[in-house]
């Protein structure tokens, strides 16, 4: 009692003066009060018993929610009957009570709504620009030009198209709903704005990481001279994601993986996927060779259709070399398995992607030899353009022997050992020249 009395003045200072001594002091808590919990559990099962102080013949008080009571009488009831203090300010509680189902874009915050009006006006203007630009492109394309100016016209049309794409992105980039959808992963990659946002996100970290891995492990000068990845790749063996450059158990990589190839520009395109191991030990020449573990062409990819199961591709039209399990023999250093995504050449007009004649490649025989496969030669021959890369590593583990036996690969019982380096004469201990 005495403490209450002594704290009275302090409490009056802390408390909001609007409440006029009706509400006790509320201290900051992050958890719900225990009374609230019991009240909620009771509310779900049975109506609550009347509080101890109330008489039994009084009418049952209505249950109040401390988050939404906003009138003074309701607050009084809540405090008296349920012994719960209302949460936050009355204004906030009134807002919560009336705005629970309002969509985000209609939230009644004045500055927010003003800002949305500004953005909407700008978007309207951008849409008008887009319409005008489209008409302009149509008109320009319909115009007849002299044959020597055809190239110029083509270039100008391409420029106008690029400007149109920029306008499309600018129309949507300021929309909070777009941002929210993208953050939730619900973006539609058929739309340019979501493709742009996804591309930005990829480039902000994951692409840098990928480039670091492939340059640190020297995939790039070893297998192909250079690469500028523009599609992101994600590798998974039997549903398990593998980070770029991670070691994969040989039993996991026994079956062909599935590869997710995500392009960030519109349209369908044809890709060739090739898996090359540049670390096959060659004892005769005391060096390393290439080996192709997988080669398939004519894989159609679009921004929304990204999954490629390497084991389920068509035998006739696509696969040139089927999947060979990744293995590294005992004692050999780890082996890099580099996967390249190569874009196939476009036809003369620049519209359609050319298919690679798989039967002809198989008949040619040069690129059906796994051992000594030269990816640079293959890329040059078919005018391919490297657009994506991925990497995993393999080394000898307890399952490798079984994997090799099942795949019918000879040499599962071979163990590599380091050659003993004879010390030079003047370093031999029993030599006369030893010092």
């Amino acid at each position: 009692m005495a403490l209450d009395r002594s704290a009275g003045r302090l409490a009056r200072c802390i408390r909001c003066t609007r409440h006029e001594r009706t509400l006790p002091i509320r201290t900051f808590t992050t958890t719900a009060p225990s009374r609230l919990e019991t009240q909620e559990t009771q509310a779900s099962s049975e109506p609550p018993p009347p509080p101890a102080g109330a008489t039994t013949d009084a009418p049952k008080p209505r249950l109040r929610d401390p988050n939404t009571v906003s009138t003074r009488a309701a607050e009084q009831q809540l405090i008296q009957h349920q012994r719960i203090t209302p949460v936050g300010s009355r204004r906030r509680r009134a807002a919560i009570a009336s705005t629970s189902n309002i969509p985000f874009s209609e939230l009644p915050y004045q500055c927010f709504q003003e800002a949305r009006a500004v953005l909407q006006a700008d978007r309207k203007q951008k849409l008008e620009h887009i319409r005008v630009q489209r008409e302009r492109i149509e008109r320009f394309k319909a115009k007849d030009v002299a044959p020597q100016d055809e190239a110029h016209k083509e270039k100008k049309v391409a420029d106008m198209r690029r400007r149109l794409e920029e306008q499309k992105i600018l129309a949507d980039i300021n929309d909070p709903v777009v941002k929210r959808k993208f953050e939730d992963g619900e973006g539609d990659l058929n739309k340019p704005i979501y493709r742009l946002l996804a591309d930005r996100q990829w480039r902000s970290y994951r692409r840098t990481l990928l480039l670091q891995r492939i340059t640190q492990m020297n995939v790039v000068p070893d297998v192909l001279p250079a690469i500028d990845p523009v599609v992101s790749t994600a590798l998974s063996f039997a549903g398990k994601r593998v980070q770029h450059g991670d070691f994969v158990d040989s039993r996991m990589s026994e079956l062909a993986p599935s590869l997710q190839i995500q392009p960030y520009d519109k349209g369908k395109r044809l890709y060739t996927v090739v898996v090359v191991n540049p670390d096959v030990p060659n004892v005769q020449k005391d060096a390393f060779d290439y080996r192709c573990h997988f080669l398939a062409s004519n894989i159609e990819i679009s921004p929304t259709d990204t999954r490629v199961r390497l084991g389920l591709l068509g035998e006739e039209g696509q696969v040139i070399l089927p999947w060979l399990p990744a293995y590294g023999q005992k004692g050999a250093p780890y082996q890099r398995m580099s996967m390249f995504v190569l874009e196939q050449a476009k036809s003369e007009g620049g519209g359609e992607f050319q298919t690679i004649d798989v039967a002809a490649v198989k008949a040619g025989g040069k690129y059906t030899q796994r051992h000594g496969f030269n990816l640079r030669s293959f890329v040059d021959k078919h005018l391919l353009k490297p657009v994506g890369v991925d990497l995993f590593r393999t080394k000898w583990d307890e399952g490798t022997a079984g994997v090799m036996q099942r795949a019918g690969i000879v040499g599962w019982d071979v163990e590599f050992k380091r050659k003993r380096v004879e010390p030079l004469p003047y370093k031999r201990m029993d030599s006369v020249r030893y010092r």
């Binding site: 005495a2 002594s6 939230l107 003003e114 800002a115 700008d122 300021n174 941002k179």
Partner: protein, 194 residues
């Protein structure tokens, strides 16, 4: 009538002294219960504690300085609203800047057009075309004489407008040199004489 307060009695009288200490003094009971120190001995010695990295000290100083604003921690909706308002503000500022720039450009073009018009008019306010239209019926000798006079009079207003006399009348003389970002290639023209 209120009962008299016991507070004073409680504070001073040994009869009313409470069993427990007031809460502010509770810490005094607990001091030095452990027979050993929980920190290193050299840390207790004066001036020989572990040396903190200067960067850590500085970071802590600036993070905990009362002038450092608290970090913005928003809920998702709040953050999105904040972002929306920010983007709208940036957009508005961009539009303002572009409008100003366009206005300046318009003014410049209009001044250039006015000067061009001045350059092409004579002291009667007529251009060569106007003169051709008006005086098409004049004699050949008159035309040649008029052409000489015109040559002198043509663009006279323009030449006057381009005079730079007295443009620095009200401004300090330091501003008469064009303000550049880098010094001139030759610092001083030694060959110059009046």
């Amino acid at each position: 009538m209120n009962a008299p307060s016991m507070a004073l009695l409680r504070a001073f009288s040994p009869v009313w002294r409470a069993e427990s200490l007031p809460w502010v003094a509770r810490g005094c009971q607990w001091q030095q219960k452990a027979p050993f120190s929980s920190t290193e001995q050299r840390m207790a010695k004066k001036g020989r504690g572990e040396k903190k990295d200067m960067r850590i000290t500085l970071i802590r100083y600036h993070l905990q300085h009362p002038l450092t604003p608290r970090p913005l921690r928003f809920s998702r909706n709040r953050a999105l609203r904040h972002w929306t308002i920010h983007r709208a503000w940036r957009l508005y500022q961009t539009q303002l800047r572009l409008n100003r720039q366009l206005e300046l450009e318009r003014q410049y073009n209009s001044m250039a057009a006015a000067c061009e018009a001045l350059r092409l008019t004579d002291n009667h306010g007529l251009t060569a075309e106007d003169r051709m239209k008006l005086g098409g019926g004049g004699g050949a000798g008159d035309e040649a004489a008029a052409a000489g006079a015109e040559g002198r009079e043509m663009g006279r207003l323009y030449r006057i407008a381009m005079l730079k006399d007295g443009v620095w009348e009200g401004a300090p003389i330091e501003y008469a040199r064009i303000q550049t970002e880098s010094p001139p290639r030759e610092g001083w023209n030694h060959a110059w004489t009046r």
